[in-house]
């Protein structure tokens, strides 16, 4: 009797329990799986060139915007004007612990002993995925390319008083290992945010993540609020 009722109950539950993940979640997971396979199958080479290419691309876009804006009759109407005083000074790259969940995402789960090095190797393998990477290499810190496919929407650029376009990124500090930074980068990818990992230079240790670049303050506000909502603390940095 009880068994019969349990069987009916089980049937009833199966009848009602049919929810499935939404399409955008499926797409995000499959995209990550696809990228992950590509990382392994492509031959690694020239990380510095890739990094240099990414930086060069940002610079070229910035210069084009500066050149083109005056020809188009000046800046469009903007919700608010950039003031240098609004922006925080670029902060020192402080070593800070990230919340436990991120550590976990990069750390445990299986045997784990070589996880960090494995993840790091995969990430470096992935560098070779970036196309058109053979650009001139400006000096500076090492930058990894973004892993997300869609670049963030670039709305109206914000001109500074000098006529140059201000370019911003959101910086997330405090990753003591590359694996932690990679885990965060993947998390950001799920949020459809374009992020790159940077390694600290001589006086700074660890890794940091930069989200962007952005030239529209509204977009910057929106993304920072999105990060805050997920408990991810970020600071604004103006790209020189």
């Amino acid at each position: 009797m009880v068994d019969d009722k349990d069987a009916h109950l089980s049937d009833l539950y199966r009848e009602t329990s049919r929810e499935e993940p939404p399409a955008h979640v499926d797409q995000a997971v499959m995209e990550l799986a696809r990228r992950s396979v590509r990382r392994c199958t492509l031959t690694p080479f020239g990380n510095h060139w890739v990094a240099a290419g990414a930086l060069a691309g940002i610079c070229i876009v910035s210069v084009l915007l500066v050149v083109l804006l005056p020809e188009q009759g000046g800046a469009p109407d903007l919700p608010h004007t950039l003031q240098d005083a609004d922006m925080p000074e670029p902060g020192a790259f402080a070593k800070r612990r990230y919340p436990k969940s991120v550590d976990d995402a990069a750390g445990g789960g299986m045997s784990g002993a070589s996880e960090e090095s494995d993840v790091a190797r995969e990430r470096f393998d992935f560098y070779s995925v970036m196309p058109e990477a053979e650009q001139q290499a400006p000096a500076g810190e090492r930058v990894t390319p973004s892993i997300t496919a869609p670049a963030p929407r670039q709305a109206a650029p914000v001109p500074m008083q000098s006529g140059r376009v201000a370019v911003y990124v959101l910086q997330i500090d405090g990753f003591s290992s590359l694996a932690q930074a990679v885990a965060m980068q993947d998390k950001l990818a799920f949020m459809r945010l374009d992020a790159s990992i940077q390694q600290g230079d001589g006086t700074q240790t660890g890794y940091r993540i930069r989200v962007g670049p952005y030239t529209d303050l509204n977009e910057l506000d929106r993304v920072q609020a999105q990060l805050d909502k997920r408990g991810i603390k970020s600071t604004r940095e103006r790209v020189p």
Partner: protein, 191 residues
């Protein structure tokens, strides 16, 4: 013959994306519902993605020591526990209690069950009851009836013994039966 989950995972580790697609298709619904029954929808989506991220990141280190499904739900449970802790709850603090205490814990979610003639109402009522089960019983129920796991697999995923897993499942079923009107348990025809 259908490839096992473990074979699919090993093939994905070798770079075969199609093998991952098979795995994902097999488990996406039940894993999503595992989170959905225990957290708000936006949280469920985030935790669901987190688990698959970890699966993807760990593929090269995967060893089929346990079933893939057990491993998947161990990851899922860890993410769920992380979430509960962020909410200031620690469901594992209950682990030391006896199952009898767990069974007695909490008020009956529905009071005296009224008569429900309509199947749809039965379904809605059942979902509410499942979501209001004590955490440890709910886990066991979801792993059995959503993920389709065997008792040994449930015990492994919950990091407990088979007898304990069986007890939790039994108490969950008793609680659901008690909360559901009699006519809901008397043989609806389901498609």
């Amino acid at each position: 013959m259908q490839d096992s989950d473990e074979d699919c995972m090993l093939r994905y580790a070798d770079g075969e994306l199609a093998a991952f697609q098979v795995l994902y298709e097999r488990h996406r619904g039940s894993l999503y519902r595992y989170f959905l029954r225990q957290s708000p929808r936006d949280v469920a989506e985030e935790l669901f993605q987190d688990v698959w991220t970890r699966v993807i990141q760990a593929r090269s280190r995967y060893r089929p020591d346990a079933t893939f499904r057990t491993w998947l739900y161990t990851l899922a449970r860890n993410r769920m526990i992380d979430y509960w802790r962020r909410q200031g709850r620690d469901p594992l603090a209950l682990s030391g209690n006896t199952d009898a205490v767990l069974y007695d814990a909490g008020e009956h979610p529905t009071g005296n069950p009224r008569r429900l003639a309509d199947l749809r109402e039965c379904l809605e009522q059942l979902l509410r009851l499942v979501e209001s089960l004590p955490v440890l019983q709910r886990e066991a129920f979801l792993l059995r009836h959503d993920a389709g796991m065997t008792l040994p697999e449930i015990a492994a995923a919950l990091d407990t013994g088979a007898e304990t897993a069986k007890s939790r499942l039994r108490y969950a079923m008793e609680r659901l039966r008690a909360g559901l009107p009699e006519e809901c348990l008397e043989g609806h025809e389901h498609g």
